[in-house]
């Protein structure tokens, strides 16, 4: 049916409205950013051509590489934390347990609330003097474990990662749950006839059935980790002394605080580039396994 002439037209009309809005509003700004990234511009008044100067300066700035490192930490901990935990929760909740609706709702709560609230909440958890975490450690007699969670560079990125995982885990739970729901009953019944039950069935049959969706989750998790901003901006402001800065914060500070808009645009192009590279690598890996 794909070769019918009418179908071609249908495809065009089906894709056109989405593409039209998308290209005009989402892709044009990327083009503009690319243009500004080779300019010297403070955001006001005249600009001048700078060639690759901005890129060269960025790539030779230690602070930028620190922010890249922090992004990688968020990406890796995000992948390790969110995807397996989300999948585990989805698998457990897919079993039709009593009260699973309530657990599902509560599990999704952190996704629903705004980043402002998440940051306020985790600020309360990590506070050195009266924070929940240090209080809890004190209560169980582990005073030696108390830390300045967000101020000490040994702990700060880990602390942020945990808040980040907390905020997003429910999202992956829901995405995976939706996929699990679509596994036809016949598959499960067939598996049962073959004697595959419990863990074996989950590993051999259920998970492969939702592999596509897991890939969706992985890619989305990576793209999100490169764009994380609000949570860190409110929780630590990227500090102390750039220790928790990520690329988007570095970009924002360059463009809007230090008024080097061209430079900031170049950073944003690099963010785009880096996430593209990682995602195409992941996609290739995924495809190789397919073969």
């Amino acid at each position: 049916m794909q070769t019918l002439r009418g179908t071609k037209l249908a495809i065009f009309f089906g894709l056109f409205p989405a593409l039209f809005i998308y290209l005009g509003i989402a892709i044009v700004p990327i083009g503009l950013s690319l243009y500004y990234s080779v300019m010297n511009w403070n955001g006001m008044g005249s600009m001048s051509f700078a060639g690759l100067d901005n890129y060269i300066k960025i790539l030779s700035d230690d602070t930028f590489w620190l922010s890249v490192k922090n992004n990688v930490i968020i990406m890796v901990t995000g992948l390790i934390g969110q995807i397996p935990l989300g999948l585990l929760l989805a698998l457990l909740l897919n079993r039709g347990l009593k009260g699973s609706g309530i657990f599902r709702t509560i599990g999704f709560m952190p996704v629903v609330i705004s980043s402002v609230m998440v940051s306020l909440i985790w600020g309360m958890v990590y506070n050195t003097e009266y924070g929940m975490l240090n209080n809890l450690l004190g209560m169980v007699g582990l005073d030696g474990w108390k830390q300045n969670w967000l101020g000490d560079h040994k702990w700060s990125m880990l602390a942020i990662s945990i808040a980040y995982i907390w905020q997003n885990c429910g999202l992956y739970m829901v995405i995976f749950l939706a996929a699990l729901q679509n596994i036809p009953d016949e598959v499960n019944e067939a598996a049962e006839l073959d004697g595959a039950t419990g863990l074996k069935r989950t590993l051999r049959i259920t998970i492969p059935m939702v592999r596509g969706t897991i890939m969706v989750g992985v890619v989305y998790s990576i793209s999100n980790s490169f764009r994380v901003f609000d949570l860190i901006q409110i929780l630590t402001g990227g500090g102390p002394a750039h220790q928790t800065e990520v690329m988007t914060i570095y970009m924002y500070n360059s463009a809007f605080i230090n008024m080097r808009y061209g430079y900031g645009s170049a950073v944003s192009i690099l963010v785009l580039l880096f996430s593209l590279i990682v995602i195409s690598l992941i996609n290739r890996l995924g495809r190789e396994k397919d073969a």
Binding site: N42, G45, N148, G239
Partner: protein
């Protein structure tokens, strides 16, 4: 899927199709509306962007003033755009990028104003200045003056270096008065620490406190007030020993354990609370904070105010306090004659003696020479006496933001021992050199 459901979906689809089609048309309709308010009729609409959204006393005063203006000028409407303070500059800069400022804007002096002037986005207001010559001193206006052209008039004065201290705690370690030399100050800090009291509550998460409230005045004590302008003219350097000494003071305080351990993660408001609850002996912040510390606090008499003590061999005047004028009101360039006239009318009305008096009545320091009203707060009187002996410049009001950014991050590193004063001074100087 039943029929009613399908029906609903069809309706929705239709709705969306309509909306999508309308997009273009709607755009054209609105083009005239938002751009130019006064369409030849009697009423003139002026857009004004400000950051007076939070429920503060001075914000209420400003808003009441705008309402009063509209009442007295029925043919001029002020359309306000209140932008949350933390993102005000982001919005201002985005609008500036599109050459699309509001008709009336709130702007900051010095380094923040320069790019707006360079981009020719603001209208000089020289012809109006005779309105304020009698009440506003030269110093209050100079921050908004670029190459002899005046671009804004300030509404509020802020002294950024006020040391709020807990009298009881200081008495406890043998100080009935706030120490007047640096050595005594350090002695007090040491004794407070020994007594198990956090000497200074600091909340530097937003990074401005150490730079603005600390380095501005400590720097001035060592270098004198001519230093920062001289650095900008390349006649002095941040690496000069006087400035490095100033940074060393912060390092010394950190090493003494003068600050709370999570100084880099508390925000300034949390640090205030910490002090007000009696968990620390001092808090250094702006004069505006007195509203929370004393003016609206039942236990106000526990707290005293002071400025940073004199330092040995310092070139600065130890009586000076670091101050900056705030909230300059500026008019956008290129307005039509009618709108420009209306905006000037507004400016004259908004920033006048009545506004300053009203602010004083609410405990706010103003840059103008106006008489203290009878019912004024005694705390404000004390504040004015403390800060009335000469004004030192505030670091970020003079130095370009890129350089300020380097200093602020360095200060955060300095208080956790990851940076030395010498190295920081060098980095700040390099950041400045790179600009030119």
């Amino acid at each position: 899927m039943n029929k009613t459901n399908k029906g609903k979906k069809a309706v929705l689809l239709g709705l969306v199709a309509m909306l999508t089609l309308l997009t273009a048309a709607c755009g054209k309709d609105n083009a005239g509306g938002s751009g130019n308010g006064g369409n030849g009729t009697e009423t003139i609409t002026l857009n004004m962007m400000h950051q007076w959204t939070s429920p503060n006393v001075d914000n209420e005063v400003y808003k009441a003033r705008i309402a009063e203006f509209e009442k007295q000028h029925p043919n001029i409407k002020i359309k306000q755009d209140g932008v949350p303070a933390a993102q005000y500059k982001t919005k201002l800069r985005t609008l500036a990028a599109g050459n699309n400022l509001a008709d009336i804007n709130v702007v900051w002096p010095g380094a923040d104003l320069d790019p707006l002037v360079a981009g020719k986005l603001l209208e000089p207001i020289n012809p109006l200045m005779e309105n304020w010559t009698s009440i506003l001193p030269e110093e209050a206006l100079s921050g908004f003056n670029v190459d002899g052209q005046q671009y804004a008039v300030p509404t509020k004065q802020s002294f950024v270096d006020i040391i709020y201290y807990n009298k009881e705690m200081f008495a406890q370690v043998g100080y009935d008065q706030f120490p007047d030399t640096y050595d005594k100050f350090i002695d007090a800090v040491t004794k407070l620490k020994e007594a198990g009291i956090t000497p200074i509550s600091l909340g530097d998460k937003e990074q401005w406190p150490l730079q603005s409230s600390y380095v501005s005045i400590i720097g001035d004590r060592f270098t004198g007030s001519d230093f920062l302008p001289a650095v900008l003219e390349k006649k002095a350097k941040f690496t000069d020993p006087e400035f490095v000494k100033a940074l060393s003071v912060i390092e010394e305080l950190a090493k003494l354990g003068a600050f709370n351990t999570d100084a880099n993660n508390m925000d300034s408001v949390q640090a205030q609370d910490y002090f007000i609850q009696g968990k620390a002996a001092m808090h250094i912040s702006s004069s505006t904070v007195d509203g929370r510390v004393r003016i609206n606090n039942e236990e106000a008499d526990k707290f005293g105010i002071a400025i940073f003590p004199s330092v040995e061999g310092g070139k600065g005047d130890p009586k000076k306090s670091a101050g900056v004028v705030q909230y300059g009101i500026a008019i956008k360039s290129g307005l039509s004659e009618k709108k420009k006239a209306a905006a000037e009318e507004f400016l004259k009305f908004f920033v006048n003696e009545d506004l300053y008096k009203e602010l004083i009545r609410n405990g706010i320091v103003v840059p103008a020479k106006v008489e203290m009203p009878e019912d004024g707060s005694k705390y404000l009187e004390e504040m004015l006496a403390l800060t009335g002996n000469g004004t030192a410049p505030v670091f970020d009001a003079v130095v370009p933001t890129q350089v300020v950014d380097v200093l602020q991050n360095g200060l955060q590193a300095l208080i956790i021992g990851q940076e030395t004063p010498e190295k920081l001074a060098q980095e700040v100087q390099e950041a400045l050199d790179e600009l030119n």
